[in-house]
Symmetry: C2
Subunit: 276 residues, 2 copies
C-alpha cells in the first residue's frame, strides 16, 4: 500500500503548528508522569463592520475563514454582500469582516435568540428560515467512496490524532478528501470550511461533508445552508436533524465505522458499490 495519505487535500490539519497544542503535566493511574499535549482553546471575537457579533472559543487556526463562514452560515453575510476586507489581530483575538455596504445584521441581532448547549452560539431561527423551500441538488453517493473517505480521513495526521478532544470536518468529492478543518467546537470546523468555500468559490453541488461530530439539527442546517447535498459522520443523529434533512433532500449517513453505516435520509441516492 502507498503511504502517501490523501494527496488531494488542499487544506490539511497542521498538528505541529505552534500555538495549537500545549504541553500539560499529567499523571496516570499509577502516579507515573505521562507526557501529554492538549489542544489550545482561545476566545476569538468576530466583528461585522463596527458591530461585535460573537466570541467563539476556538483552537485558533484560520480565524479569517472562521469569521466569514460563521457570518455566512448565520445569514448575516449574504452571497451578494461584497467583502472588502477581513482583518485579524492575533494579540487582541479579534477578527473584523468589512463589507461594501451595511448588512441587515442589526435587525437580526435585536431578536436576541441564541441557542445554548452543545448546539449553540447561533441565531437558530435565522438558520431555520434559510431552510424554507430549500431543495439540494441530487447527488449520487457511492458507498465505496464513503468507506475510502473514512479511511483516508482517519489516517491523515491531525490534531485529533496528536492531542484528542477536537472535532474535524472534511469537504470531499467522490473518494477524495479536499479540505480538512478541526476545532474544539464542531460548528467552528464547519464554519471554517464555509469561509474557505466562499473565498475559493468552491461549488458545493458535487461535494460530501464528513464530520466527526453528532448530526444535530444545527450541523444538518449548516450543511444544507452551504448547499452540500450529502452529510456523513462517524457519530449518531438527533430527530430534528433527520427531519430537516428529509425536507431539504440532504443525504445523511451516520455511525460510519469501517464498512458499516446507517442511512437516515436520501437512501434512494446511495449507490451500493462497496465490496461486501
Amino acid at each position: 500500500m502507498a503511504t502517501q495519505l490523501a494527496p488531494s487535500l488542499l487544506v490539511a490539519p497542521d498538528p505541529g503548528a505552534p500555538g495549537l497544542t500545549a504541553p500539560v503535566e499529567a499523571r496516570d493511574e499509577t502516579g507515573a508522569p505521562v507526557p501529554l499535549r492538549v489542544v489550545e482553546e482561545r476566545p476569538l471575537t468576530i466583528y461585522l463592520n463596527a458591530r461585535e457579533i460573537v466570541t467563539a472559543m476556538t483552537v485558533g487556526d484560520h480565524p479569517e475563514w472562521l469569521a466569514l463562514g460563521f457570518l455566512a452560515n448565520q445569514r448575516m453575510l449574504r452571497p451578494e454582500d461584497a467583502v472588502t476586507g477581513v482583518d485579524f489581530d492575533a494579540e487582541l483575538g479579534v477578527v473584523v469582516v468589512r463589507t461594501a455596504r451595511e448588512t441587515d445584521h442589526e435587525a437580526k441581532l435585536a431578536r436576541a435568540t441564541r441557542t445554548s448547549g452543545c448546539a449553540v452560539g447561533t441565531v437558530f431561527g435565522d438558520m431555520m428560515e434559510g431552510m424554507a423551500g430549500l431543495r439540494l441538488p441530487p447527488l449520487e453517493v457511492r458507498t465505496s467512496d464513503l468507506m475510502a473517505l473514512s479511511q483516508a480521513i482517519n489516517r491523515t495526521p491531525s490534531l485529533y490524532l496528536e492531542a484528542g478532544a477536537i472535532h474535524g470536518t472534511c469537504l470531499c468529492r467522490g473518494a477524495e478528501p479536499l479540505a480538512y478543518f478541526e476545532d474544539v467546537g464542531r460548528h467552528n470546523a464547519v464554519d471554517k470550511l464555509a469561509g474557505w468555500m466562499r473565498v475559493t468559490g468552491t461549488v458545493p453541488d458535487d461535494k460530501v461533508m464528513y464530520t466527526t461530530g453528532r448530526l444535530t439539527s444545527e450541523m444538518v442546517i449548516k450543511c444544507a445552508a452551504m448547499g452540500i447535498p450529502a452529510l456523513v459522520s462517524r457519530s449518531g443523529f438527533t430527530a430534528w436533524g433527520v427531519r430537516v434533512a428529509q425536507e431539504v433532500g440532504l443525504t445523511v449517513i451516520g455511525r460510519l465505522k469501517g464498512r458499516r453505516f446507517l442511512c437516515v435520509a436520501g437512501e434512494e441516492r446511495l449507490v451500493r458499490d462497496h465490496a461486501p
Copy 2:
C-alpha cells in the same frame, strides 16, 4: 453480582419516557431496514422575569432545572436572589424564572459577548469573572471510587445506551452516583444538575462531577462555579480548562476508561487505593 444498579440515584435517566426519543427509518450498509430510536432535540426559550435570555436546544426533560441552572451558572441568578416561581409552558417551549426583585442581567446582556462553537451559548466573560479568587474546598478523591463510579454510570439505563448521540453528567459522592442528567448539549446536562442542586440545597463540597464530555474551559468553569471540587470525564482536555482548574484548586481527571485515567490538576488530592 447484584443486578440492581446504582440504588443511590436520586435522579436517573428515564430512557422510556415519551418525547425524549423518536423512531427513525434507517437502512444499514446492506440496504436492510434497521429499527432505530434517536434522541429528540427541541428549542426551549428561557426567560428571566420579562426578559428573554436564550433559546437552548435540549432533549426536553427537566426544563425548570435547566433554566434555573443555566441562569445560575451564567451568574444572572445569584444565590441571594429569591426565586418566586418557575413556569414551564410545554406547548410554547418556554420557561420563565421569576425573582422577587429585578436581577442585574440587563447590564450583563448589554455586553453581548457570547461564545460560539461547541463551547457556546454563554456569556463567557461573566463566567470567567466568577473564577477570580475562587478556591475550592480540598477533597480527597479515592481512585477506587472513580473506577466504581465509571462502572456504575456506564451500566445505568440511559438515553445514551438507548439512542446514543447524547451527553451525560452525574453528581457523585464517594463511590455513589447521586443524580444523573443527560442532554444533547453537554452544558445543558450540567445546567440541569446545577438547577437541581439549587432547588434541593445540595452541598457541593464533598461531591465529584462525572461527565461524558470533553473538559473544555466552559465545563471546568461551570464545575468550579458550582463549588464542586472534583471533575471526572471519560474524554480529554483543553489547555485553558486545565489552567483554570489548576488556579481554582479543582481536581481534574480525564480519559477514565476501566482502570486507566490521566490526572491533570489536583493530583496531590488523589488517594491511590484501587486494586492494581
